[in-house]
Symmetry: C2
Subunit: 382 residues, 2 copies
């Protein structure tokens, strides 16, 4: 087995409730709770790596599924891994591709060995197994790799969720074994996180936590949420799962979410997040402010010469008006997508930073009450 | 009449042959010969103003036609002009909209009063007159404004070119009068340049130069070229027109061109250029190097881990490989458009800078020979 790639230091907090932590990786530190922007194809859409750093990004998420299909592992290996290929020197976490494959509208079939699917690019047939998904992430060279899991749809019957969870667990064991049997390719250690599944069933989630703890992963993700279940149900599962997870290891809530979801999940003890909302919504013209979201394309911003958010010091807010950014969207200019993305990620990272400060000062509840007081003015959230 | 907005100092050179100059504007100095990137809608596509500055841009061109239609002069005036609206603090030159209107495939009709046309956005009817085109550019607040002209198509009969030139001249007089009768809106003086027309007919070009010199513009553009005529014909007209223009005033060759065209036109005594080639070709995946142009999407760059241009120090070349930029184009990522644009403009500005150095050192001919020696390797120019 290789030396451990990441270490996690819990600076404040406990198993449940908001936590302040420090995640150390071969590519630098991540102060948690932290948000990971999604760079599906090795780049966060509409930003350069320098821009991404300027937003306050500490760690980027990238998708094994997309990178496996294009540019492919051969080119990634020849480039010396994704950090070098994409010129991103901070940490990278890659998902396992499971979620992407299960979201495919094309052919996909779940078998014991893995998941058989057709590429969304050219229809070619592929198989993801717990083993080759580890291998793919070795080729990518991500600091944190994820095991292949099955993400059951919502709603799923108890019987289906039960069967699916058993498969996910067998796959987790196989991924763990493959990880132990292989070496990193680029001279720095990598880490493999487990993924808790179990749909919305509390006993399955509990069983999943126990099973994965036995496999001793250096970190745990909560998967299978934000797939259509009611928000209350999602937050309930997050709460009960987080409190069962080992206190000393980082917890990552996959694919969540809106600003208010992050606040709630941090309240429940989540350390890491990823979501396409800040970047995708930016490209659709929705920008986040401390008072709620704005649809910047709306005619009411035509002559609004204030910045997106008076309290934000990002490049977009310190140089451009809502009226100008609206003009860029109306005119179909790429700069509009760029500025909105830059702002939204800055907003997300500032939100996380505020939460870290509040936890550090022992005033998270006060901060949270203030957040809702301001953010409740939201009338246009996408 | 308002105080003169620009001044031009000829530092080296004469009426004909390569010239080194310094153009002073209310928004800063421009070392000539200079290339002006095209920011049609108030933004150079795929770049922020900060990025644009990083490429070495000294002055941006913007299109009166597009800005008049969207966002419109009312918003531009409320914003305090284009410099403030677009957060571009360096000089701006605006074309008169004439060329855009004459390029419209929709309805357009040239009359004595001006040109009647339908908007390409919504089909609405508009009229550009020599007078309102000055007014529009007052609203934009460009440092250098252009008169409304008629750009005759190629080929045009002598008779048509003759008639068209007379109209262009009557319009130039009217524009000059309107300019003298109006004041700038934003506290700094603006300047109005005349445009030499005459199609490919030497005597008409000569007549046009004489006519415009009498109107005493602070600078002169050569228009109506690069519209389909053979390159040799274009360069011949540039040569003969440039040498007739007043030595002490800046000359601007509109809409030209490829790197080799800039070299030839500088040889003939041109000081200013604008063209969409570096930015449009970038977005189509064609990048310029000191050895010629490359179509970066080509499969042969799949595993080419060298920068676009080994000798370039732009952000794209110092951080990314041809293989990665190709990946971005294959994957449809905006970052590809951004990096290619950044590089191409850096290349164009470096080319101009090299020419300025060579002129300054009295070695332009040597430099030009070396340029062709390297650049002749070009096998893929778009």
């Amino acid at each position: 087995m290789t030396e451990p790639g990441i270490t996690f230091e819990l600076k404040r907090g406990s198993a449940s409730g908001p936590r302040l932590g420090l995640l150390r990786t071969p590519h630098g530190e991540v102060q948690t709770p932290a948000f990971m922007p999604v760079g599906t194809q090795g780049t966060v859409k509409a930003l350069s790596p320098d821009d991404l750093t300027r937003t306050g990004t500490q760690i980027m998420l990238s998708n094994a599924y997309h990178l496996y299909l294009r540019p492919g592992t051969e080119i990634l290996e020849k480039a010396g891994g994704l950090h070098r290929f994409a010129s991103w020197q901070k940490p990278i976490l890659t998902d396992s591709g499971g979620f992407q494959v299960f979201s495919l509208s094309q052919y996909r079939k779940i078998r014991e060995d893995g998941v058989h699917f057709r590429s969304h690019l050219d229809g070619s047939l592929h198989v993801f197994t717990p083993e080759n998904v580890v291998d793919i992430q070795r080729s990518i060279g991500s600091d944190i790799m994820m095991v292949l899991d099955e993400c059951p749809p919502y709603p799923s019957t108890y019987e289906y969720a039960r069967k699916s969870l058993d498969l996910t667990h067998r796959w987790a064991e196989r991924a763990r074994a493959r990880f132990a049997a292989t070496e990193p390719l680029y001279g720095y250690p990598q880490s493999l996180f487990g993924i808790v599944q179990g749909s919305v069933y509390a006993d399955l989630r509990e069983e999943s936590v126990r099973f994965l703890i036995d496999l001793e992963f250096p970190g745990y993700a909560i998967g299978g949420l934000s797939v259509g279940e009611p928000k209350e149900e999602m937050l309930k599962i997050v709460r009960l799962t987080a409190q069962m997870l080992p206190k000393a290891k980082p917890r990552y809530l996959m694919g969540v979410g809106k600003p208010e979801d992050l606040v709630e999940a941090v309240s429940s003890g989540i350390d890491l997040f990823d979501c396409v909302i800040p970047t995708r919504n930016a490209r659709n013209g929705t920008v986040f402010t401390s008072e709620g979201a704005l649809v910047i394309k709306n005619a009411r911003f035509k002559e609004d010469f204030r910045p997106i958010d008076e309290t934000c010091n990002c490049y977009a807010c310190t140089n451009f008006s809502r009226a100008y950014i609206r003009h860029l969207f109306q005119a179909g200019e790429i700069l509009g997508l760029h500025l909105a993305t830059l702002h939204n990620l800055t907003f997300y990272h500032r939100l996380m930073s505020e939460m870290r400060s509040a936890i550090s000062a022992g005033r998270f509840d006060e901060w949270k009450a203030l957040f809702y007081e301001r953010y409740a003015r939201d009338r246009e959230a996408a």
